[in-house]
Point group: C2
Chain length 365, copies 2
């Protein structure tokens, strides 16, 4: 019977690790004493199986466990349930990685357009992409549309909603889509260059679908989602129903003990994320350079034929870091600078143009 | 403008805590430098406001922050986004508690039937309720139905699916509902006593609705959900659409840095959880007795007129702990013993009857 394998990093002392590994294998599969299982097929095929235990450092082990493909089926929520559901409640364990059956990966299908599609839509050739964010929340659609127009005059590729923007009374999503898209079309008539607006979708699946309809009605072809808040199953459904849309995935509420390269670079990508927003090292969040590099490599790697998803390092980035970030990530990246551009206030368009120029003129070594 | 307040526990040294608290207030609201905000109304009403900082112990502070009601609206996903979304990515912060506006709490409405309703359906008077779990996953519907019948002959009140049971090919949810409900009706004709089956619902909102229809068609009035996997918005939608159903909430994937009394006892309850499954102290998980007690008290407390939700301490419980648990929790509890009953194998009905008798005969001090 087909298997998937999960690799956990487990804090334990040497004497306890074998029993601890076996306990995780049981917790993530049959969740009961094996002595109480009468069915031989369940014991052979359904019970998780410890495949390897290796020491990483003093008191830290990598534990590889094979799980039954049949228990997961095709639902992404059940996938995360079987990989980490109950074990997420145990503080000594991190879900580090997972190897998924190729047919599962290809069935979900991955990014609709991926890095290449996002570049082609922006006419960006092979260079790094640029992005900024509409904020602060609390502004009405017309004010956000004015901001978007000023970013667009600076030549930015994508302008996304801050992840706090939702379908609020003071800025309903449908009105915001209409106002921002109209403003960006006006700039396009001036400059000949189209900046794309990426509204943030929120709510239950009904609300998300209604918001996608509103975005499409405004001529929008790129949206942002919050997979850990809407649930992986609903995200996958939206991506599958809207193959012409590109999806940015935002990391909000992803502060679990699942490794970001796995969660963003494999799972979000597999379910349809074209762009992966994540907190860059040296910003407001604690991701290390190594972690960021691994996340970007995973998102871009050749993996069962999926399109590459573009890494979007963010979270307190500034123009003076553009060169360093492009040296670190190479050109297969989307740089996102929000607050630091907005700080330019009346010089927002000029600051944006400087950001865009820095990216376009960077020479990759 | 109306506010909600979030209380975070923050690891910090004394010199840094004021700046750190202010940074959280910004992160969870406008997410940009205040110097870049031109709009006075946003500064006055939308920016998070640090209301209190108090030392809990050396290097640990309680930080209370007021957030704008208007940024949240009525969507539970946006509520969790504003309470903890990006800050969940910062390892030094735990979301400890939240005070929500009464109109928000009453609008969501809380449990459909609550503890009293679950007791009334079981004819349980004022005693503690009893529950067990169908497992292992991998069994076909008829095998699970046989197990359910044996639990029922032992007199158990509720039999829930193990949280690993989904809509799998070897045990489709609709077939499982039909098989288990039929078996339980047959036992009811023998014994005059009805045990209720609580199937576990999984998948996107479309799938969840289809599964609810299948459950109702089988005469089932109680279901289990996984709020952190399906997303809080979808859970709230299901509970609101099905006011005649009772909902068990399972804690799978809830291993975030949100305090369980808040997440389960307030948020899940507010959104419609009638019963809250959580890992009891002294089982397979690391919750402390203090934490379990606080969770149970929160779930049962008088809170803006919501019905009490029944705490369901679980995760490796055994019959020999029944008396201790009833002394600890009192009678406003549902005791859930799964694997330890199944270990009795051919004596499953007798072991269940012993569990039920222990609960019924317990004298609360």
């Amino acid at each position: 019977m087909s298997r998937l394998t999960a690799t956990y990093h487990v804090r334990s002392d040497a004497r306890a690790i074998e029993a601890r590994a076996q306990a995780i294998a049981v917790e993530q599969s049959v969740e009961m004493p094996l002595s109480a299982i009468e069915d031989q097929q369940v014991l052979d095929e359904i019970v998780g199986r410890v495949e390897d235990i290796s020491a990483l450092s003093l008191g830290l082990y990598a534990v590889r466990i094979a799980l039954s493909r049949a228990t997961v089926g095709d639902d992404p929520g059940q996938l995360i349930n079987m990989l980490f559901g109950n074990t997420s409640l145990q503080q000594d364990v991190v879900l580090h990685d997972a190897d998924l059956p190729p047919e599962m990966v290809t069935r979900h299908g991955g990014p609709n357009v991926g890095l290449a599609g996002l570049r082609a839509r922006a006419g960006a050739g092979n260079r790094a992409l640029t992005c900024s964010a509409l904020k602060p929340q609390g502004l009405a659609p017309d004010r956000l549309a004015q901001l978007a127009a000023r970013f667009a005059r600076g030549g930015i590729d994508y302008v996304k909603d801050d992840h706090g923007l939702a379908d609020q009374a003071y800025s309903p999503l449908a009105a915001r889509c209409e106002a921002v898209a109209t403003a960006l079309r006006a700039v396009e008539r001036e400059t000949g260059r189209r900046t794309r607006y990426v509204p943030s979708l929120t709510g239950d699946l009904d609300a998300l679908r209604a918001q996608i309809t509103a975005a499409k009605n405004a001529g929008i072809d790129t949206v942002m989602v919050q997979p850990m808040i809407m649930g992986l199953s609903n995200f996958a459904r939206l991506a599958a129903e809207n193959r012409e849309l590109a999806f940015f995935a935002h990391p909000t509420l992803a502060g679990t003990r699942m490794s970001p390269p796995l969660l963003f670079g494999k799972l979000f990508r597999m379910l349809g994320a074209d762009a992966l927003v994540f907190p860059n090292h040296g910003g407001r969040f604690g991701y290390s350079p190594d972690l960021c590099g691994e996340l970007a490599r995973t998102a871009l790697s050749d993996w069962h034929g999926l399109k590459p998803a573009v890494p979007v390092p963010a979270g307190g980035m500034t123009i003076d870091r553009v060169s360093e970030m492009l040296d670190f990530y190479g050109s297969d990246v989307m740089l996102l600078i929000g607050g630091a551009l907005l700080e330019a206030r009346e010089r927002l368009t000029e600051a944006t143009a400087a950001f865009v120029a820095n990216v376009q003129e960077h020479r990759h070594g």
